[in-house]
Structures are given as structure tokens and as C-alpha cells.
């Protein structure tokens, strides 16, 4: 299912699977970190992803979103960040106290702004 969705956005060229950190887009990460400093604390335990309400209905992997944002690899998650219901369970389970709910809300905003070149 995820394969089909990735191709919908016009990436017909087979992109390399490598994360090219130097060519990554750190703007969304910076946008989020300025407004939600707890973003830096994530150590990828995955409990947010496990508890996610939307996660039982669709592909939305909060941990992966956080990792990819930090690596600057944004295209795979453009669609994913719009699926969050903002329910807040992720924030309640996080052992590091990352306000994942706010991170996702800011990520959705930032991705929209990035599309319009306003970031």
C-alpha cells in the first residue's frame, strides 16, 4: 500500500534508498525545534507509534516521521503527517516527555509551508 502512495506524487524516477544527509532538508526540523524544543529528546523507542489511534487505521508511523524529519528526508512522509488525529495519546506514553502531538501539528504546518515555498 505504501509503495503505491509514494508513486502518486510524481516521483517516477527510482530514487536511491540512501539517506544523503548532506542533501537533506533540515528546515522542517528547525521549524519544529524552535517551537517545540522537546523534539530533541526522542530516542526512538516507538511507544508513540504503538499507541497511535490513527495507526490502527492507516500507515502513520510517528517514530519514523520523527527520525526522517531529523535526517532531512521529507518526501516519504508528506502524506503521512496529515493523518494524525491530534488525540494526544503519543504525548502521554512518551518516556522522554516529547510533545509528539505538537511535533506532528507543527510538522503538518511546516510541510504545507514548504510546499508553498514559505518556509
Amino acid at each position: 500500500m505504501s509503495q503505491g502512495e509514494a508513486n502518486r506524487f510524481g516521483f517516477t524516477i527510482n530514487k536511491s534508498r540512501l539517506i544523503n544527509y548532506d542533501k537533506g532538508d533540515q528546515r522542517v526540523r528547525n521549524y519544529i525545534t524552535e517551537r517545540e524544543p522537546s523534539f530533541r529528546l526522542c530516542f526512538s523507542c516507538g511507544s508513540c507509534t504503538a499507541t497511535c489511534t490513527a495507526g490502527s487505521h492507516t500507515t502513520i508511523n510517528l517514530r519514523r516521521i520523527n527520525v526522517l524529519i531529523r535526517r532531512g528526508d521529507l518526501d516519504p512522509i508528506r502524506d503521512e503527517v496529515t493523518r494524525c488525529m491530534l488525540c494526544g495519546k503519543c504525548y502521554l506514553t512518551c518516556p522522554r516527555g516529547v510533545n509528539t502531538r505538537n511535533v506532528l501539528a507543527l510538522a503538518a504546518e511546516a510541510m504545507k509551508m514548504r510546499e508553498r515555498n514559505e518556509l
Binding site: 517551537r35 517545540e36 522537546s38 499507541t51 489511534t53 490513527a54 490502527s56 487505521h57 492507516t58 496529515t82 493523518r83 494524525c84 488525529m85 491530534l86 488525540c87 494526544g88 495519546k89 504525548y91 502521554l92 506514553t93 516527555g97 510533545n99 502531538r101 505538537n102 501539528a105 503538518a108 504546518e109 510541510m111 504545507k112
Partner: protein
């Protein structure tokens, strides 16, 4: 002598503010919707009129609501407002009765002593003079308190007072100068002429003995006039505009006009009615427990009035409603903030000072661009049941509530279906609190469909957040009950027979259930039935917030836990054996911050059920007991 140049500043200021206020109110009236205009017209000629007059007397003049917050604070506001009102009233009568003519311009009344320096030496005039001095002293006592409030808010029972802008400071200074300068001016004139009463006479005599009072007096008359004039001119752009606007607001409110979902003429009136009294700041737990002092309603309103960028402030609020409860002007602080949350991105230009006087403000409202989409939701499984139980997202993290509710349903023999057993779809309120009503509608539609298709007559939820949105934003045919109302009903009907436990407990009113939905009694009925319910301070509509609120998108967990710990310390002051809540988020937040046990009402009721089977064995055998109970 009928005219002196020093009355000019006063006259200019007074005529300016009178005309300005009337015109502005007319513009506001014109901006109202047709329905609201009709409401107001009916309100002026019906019962609401007397109600409004009463409220103006009791709130704008006597400040009853502020008295409830703190008596000294109430006295301070009252002495300035009511005292000044009486001074003007009796001053006008004085000028008309004792003066040369019977209808005088305001300046004759305000500067009466100047124009009648020998007046009041004996007889009725002397008694009247005593009364005028008394009123002045009354106001000055309040002024002293106001000064001490600015420097030491704690003496007035306020934890913090509002931070001021430059304009506010100038307006404040001119206000504070008015009465002392009147005192000095009157005293000096009286001292030079041997007149005056207990205050002005005595002070006047004292001053006359050390300086040429007659020559110094005009200086203070000028100061009096200038401070009045400045105050009047600055009124529309300072917090003191609330003096006239509050009265207008009272009429509007009593006619049944409310703020809607978007910014309107009415919300503009509300913004200008705020007196920056600081009660909202003082009562805000984010302020006194977490030390965050820049996001409270008074600052939001100030920011909106001056066109500042309020996006940081808007989202950073627990939406607990405590400020709205205590606001002496009765501004709908919650809806005001929600209106801002729904706004899209604005190009914020701070309104230049002079433009803040403009009579017509273009209320520009932008819609939030949708950033979320839920097209991926597949229609839910079709199930049929009489009663649906919706646990909600949060309850899944406090499974003891689910286990307790299951037990209660079985004990009462209810044919129920656990709607979101597999996790379900969020009720939509968290999205709405983030200002995303459109997107929430998709979730609401999804859930509504499941509810319709089930044919259920009743929807029971253990989460007050879900309860509020089901009642207010879903358009359902079914009866929506919070689990406290449901359990109360079961106990009333005899379907549930818990016993009594001699345990001292306290109840915490969740914000969304109490202030948010008005459900205060049912939980207390239940707890009182099964345990020894103790009273706490700050309960019901004054209840504290646990701090867990999903209404605040950006508060850190550190700050939340400060708020939770403070709230718990108030709740557990008299060492109850448990704190009872009716909300899974409150339960989770408090459990992380409390030494005392925290239980949900459902758990408490199950604990009190007599036919208790040992916890670790399945309850299959209990079906026979359930059969004897009403279905």
C-alpha cells in the same frame, strides 16, 4: 466669572469621549447581525432592560463579583467607580442647586469650588460640602489601595497583576493624578478663602499657612483639568474604555447576544470591555503554579486590540475555563480564544497608535488551511446494540476504567457494545480545540455513522472530552450520557446496588465535565452513596484543572506536572484515602503526580459492589445475578 482657560482641556476631553463612545457604539450596533439587532431592541424595551440596569449597578458600580474574589480588591474598584459616579452625580446637583443657573455645563460642576470659592461656609451648603469631601476621601482611599495593588498585588489577594503597555501607563498616571490634584486644587482655593469642609478645609488651612495658596491654586486646577482631559482622550485606546463599553456589553448580553464561532461586532465589544483587572491572571494555574505569565486572557485581549501577533498566546492555554468563571465583566473568554484558534495565518500588522481610534475596524477573518485529511478511514463494522460504550482515546491508557465499566454493564445486565474496543477513531474534540473544525467533521461523520447504524438508544462514554463533543457537535438521535450520569441512573433504578464503604474520599471536577458541560451533581450523588465524600475548597465551577488538558498544544510535561502537583496538594489537604476523578486524562495526570491513590468513579463503584467475586477469577458465574436485574 464664567470661564477660565484651564477648563479647556477638560471640556475637549469630555466632549471628545462622549461623542466618540456614542458613535462607536452605534457602529458596533450596526455591525450586529439582524437577529442580534432585534434581540437588542427587544432587550431595551423589555425585562432585560431592568436586569441590565441592575447589573450595571451591582457590577459596574458596586463590583460585587470582585468582592467575591477578595473584599479589599472589591472595595478598591468600588470606591473608584462608585465613588466617582457619586461625585459626578452630587457635584452636578451641587452646581445646579447652589449655582447661579439651574442648568450648567459640566465644567461648572467639576470645577465648582473654583467658581464658588466662598461657598459652603455654613448651613445646608456646609453639610453638602461635608458630603462632597467625604466622597473625595472615599475615592482617595481606593486610590491608595490601587497604588499598593500595583506594587504589592498580594495585599489584595491577587497573585499577580497585569503588565502594562506605555499607553496604559500614561492613562493610569493621568487617572491617578485626577483626584489628588482635585484635592490639592480645592484645598488651596478653600485655604485661600477660608472655606471647605473636614478634608479640603483643614488641608487648605494647613497649606495656606506655608504658601500663598491663592496663587498656587490655579496650577493645580490646570493639573486637574489636564489630567481629566488626558484621561478622556486616551480612554478609547486604553483599558479604561471598559467604563462605558462594559455598560453597553451588559445590555447586549442581557438581550441574549452571544459570541459565535467567528469574530464579530459583538466580540469587538467584548474586547473593549476588558478592564485588565488581572483577575484572570490571578486565577490562572499556569500563572501561579507554572510561572507562565504572558498568555492569559487579558494579554490575548490586549494583543488583539492593538493588532499584535497573538499566535504564540492563542494555543498556549489549558482552556480550563477558570478565568471565564471569575471575569468580573462577564466576557466570554473561552469562545474568544477559540475564535482565534480557528483563524488561519494572518499577516499581522501592529495597528499604529492613531489608527487604534478608528471607528470602524475591518473584521478580517481567514480560514485555517486544512493540513489534515482522514479519507483513509474505512467505514466501521456494523454492530447492533441498545447501548454503546465509547471509551475514547484516553481511556485506553487507563484500562482500569474499562474493566470497571465492563463489570458495571454486566452487573446491571445491560445489552451493550464496546464501540471502540480495538482503538476506534478519536471523537474529534482534540482537533476542534486546535481550531480545526472542518477536519474534525470528518471524524465526527465516521463515528456518527457507526452510532446510527447500530440502532442504539444510548451512548455512554467514560471521557468528558468525548462527552462534550458528542453533545455539542455531533447531531445524534441517541441519548448521550457520561458514565457518571449512567451509573447514577443505574443506582436510581436499582439496577446497581453498591454498598457503603467507610473511606474518606474527595472528588475532583474535570474541567470538561464540570465547567465544560455543567455536570456537577451526578458524580457527587454516586460517591456520596458509596463512600464518605469530603468537601474541598475550589470545587464545582471553581474547580482546579489537573494540567493534563489537551486544550493546550504546547505546554511541556514539566510545567504540567507543576500544575498537577499544586492541584493535588489542594485536593489532598485533609488526607483523604483516595482522590476520585471522572476523567481518564485527569486520572493519568494525577497518578503521575500524586502519592495519594487516584481512582475513577467507576472503579470506586465496582469496589463497593457487594457481590464481589475475587479479582483474579472470571465473572462468568455472575450471569445469574444479572438476570434478576432490570434490563
Amino acid at each position: 466669572m464664567n470661564f477660565e482657560p484651564f477648563v479647556i482641556p477638560f471640556n475637549l476631553g469630555l466632549y471628545f469621549i462622549l461623542i466618540y463612545t456614542v458613535v462607536r457604539c452605534i457602529m458596533w450596533f450596526q455591525g450586529l447581525s439582524r437577529a442580534d439587532k432585534l434581540r437588542l431592541q427587544r432587550g431595551f424595551f423589555g425585562r432585560p432592560f431592568m436586569q441590565s440596569i441592575k447589573e450595571i449597578l451591582s457590577e459596574s458600580l458596586l463590583h460585587r463579583r470582585i468582592f467575591k474574589v477578595n473584599p479589599v480588591l472589591g472595595y478598591m474598584h468600588m470606591s473608584l467607580a462608585f465613588g466617582w459616579f457619586l461625585l459626578i452625580l452630587f457635584g452636578t446637583i451641587e452646581a445646579d442647586y447652589f449655582g447661579a443657573h439651574h442648568l450648567n455645563p459640566p465644567s461648572r460642576a467639576i470645577f465648582f469650588r473654583y467658581f464658588n470659592p466662598e461657598h459652603g461656609a455654613y448651613g445646608f451648603a456646609h453639610i453638602y460640602g461635608f458630603w462632597m469631601d467625604f466622597l473625595l476621601a472615599f475615592i482617595l482611599s481606593g486610590l491608595l489601595l490601587a497604588m499598593s495593588k500595583r506594587f504589592r498585588p498580594r495585599t489584595m489577594g491577587m497573585k499577580k497583576t497585569t503588565k502594562h503597555t506605555i499607553v496604559d501607563r500614561i492613562a493610569l498616571t493621568s487617572l491617578w493624578l485626577i483626584f489628588p490634584s482635585r484635592l490639592m486644587a480645592e484645598s488651596l482655593t478653600c485655604g485661600a478663602n477660608g472655606s471647605g469642609s473636614f478634608l479640603t478645609g483643614n488641608l487648605g488651612a494647613l497649606l495656606a499657612s506655608v504658601m500663598p495658596a491663592g496663587e498656587v491654586a490655579p496650577l493645580f486646577w490646570w493639573l486637574y483639568s489636564l489630567s481629566l482631559g488626558t484621561f478622556f482622550v486616551l480612554l478609547p485606546v486604553s483599558r479604561y474604555f471598559h467604563i462605558p463599553v462594559e455598560m453597553f456589553l451588559i445590555f447586549l448580553r442581557n438581550s441574549g447576544i452571544k459570541s459565535g464561532d467567528k469574530a464579530s461586532s459583538f466580540t469587538e465589544v467584548e474586547l473593549n470591555a476588558c478592564s485588565s483587572c488581572g483577575v484572570c491572571i490571578s486565577t490562572c494555574q499556569m500563572s501561579y503554579a507554572a510561572g507562565i505569565n504572558n498568555i492569559q486572557s487579558a494579554y490575548l485581549i490586549k494583543g488583539l486590540r492593538t493588532g499584535k501577533d497573538v499566535s504564540d498566546i492563542t494555543m498556549n492555554c489549558l482552556m480550563c475555563g477558570r478565568c471565564e468563571e471569575k471575569c468580573p465583566v462577564g466576557i466570554e473568554l473561552g469562545p474568544l480564544r477559540m475564535i482565534q484558534r480557528r483563524e488561519g495565518k494572518r499577516i499581522n500588522e501592529e495597528i499604529p497608535f492613531l489608527s487604534q481610534y478608528s471607528l470602524k475596524r475591518n473584521i478580517v477573518s481567514t480560514e485555517k488551511e486544512p493540513t489534515h485529511s482522514y479519507k483513509y478511514l474505512a467505514p466501521g463494522k456494523e454492530v447492533k446494540a441498545d447501548v454503546l460504550f465509547f471509551a475514547g482515546c484516553m481511556t485506553h491508557l487507563t484500562p482500569s476504567i474499562i474493566v470497571a465499566m465492563k463489570k458495571i454493564f454486566e452487573e446491571a445486565g445491560v445489552n451493550y457494545h464496546f464501540m471502540d474496543a480495538d482503538g476506534g477513531v478519536c471523537c474529534g474534540r482534540p482537533l476542534m480545540l486546535a481550531g480545526r473544525d472542518r477536519e474534525a467533521r470528518e471524524l465526527i461523520n465516521h463515528n456518527s455513522e457507526i452510532i446510527w447504524k447500530s440502532g442504539a438508544k444510548m451512548l455512554v462514554t467514560s471521557c468528558p472530552i468525548c462527552y462534550k463533543v458528542f453533545r455539542e457537535s455531533y447531531y445524534l438521535d441517541v441519548e448521550v450520557l457520561h458514565h457518571t450520569q449512567f451509573i447514577d441512573m443505574l443506582i436510581d433504578e436499582g439496577a446497581l446496588r453498591p454498598g457503603f464503604m467507610h473511606e474518606k474520599v474527595v472528588y475532583h471536577d474535570p474541567c470538561e465535565l464540570g465547567r465544560g458541560s455543567g455536570v456537577y451533581d451526578e458524580p457527587r450523588n454516586i460517591i456520596g452513596y458509596v463512600a464518605d465524600l469530603q468537601q474541598t475548597v475550589e470545587d464545582r465551577s471553581e474547580a482546579l484543572c489537573c494540567g493534563g488538558s489537551i486544550g493546550n498544544l504546547s505546554l511541556s510535561s514539566e510545567k504540567r506536572s507543576l500544575i498537577a502537583k499544586d492541584a493535588i496538594s489542594v485536593l489532598t489537604k485533609n488526607n483523604p484515602s483516595a482522590v476520585i476523578t471522572a476523567c481518564p486524562l485527569c486520572k493519568k495526570t494525577f497518578s503521575n503526580a500524586s502519592e495519594t491513590k487516584v481512582m475513577d468513579i467507576a472503579e470506586l463503584v465496582v469496589k463497593a459492589l457487594p457481590s464481589k467475586t475475587p479479582k483474579k477469577v472470571f465473572i462468568r458465574q455472575k450471569k445469574s445475578a444479572a438476570e434478576t436485574v432490570k434490563n
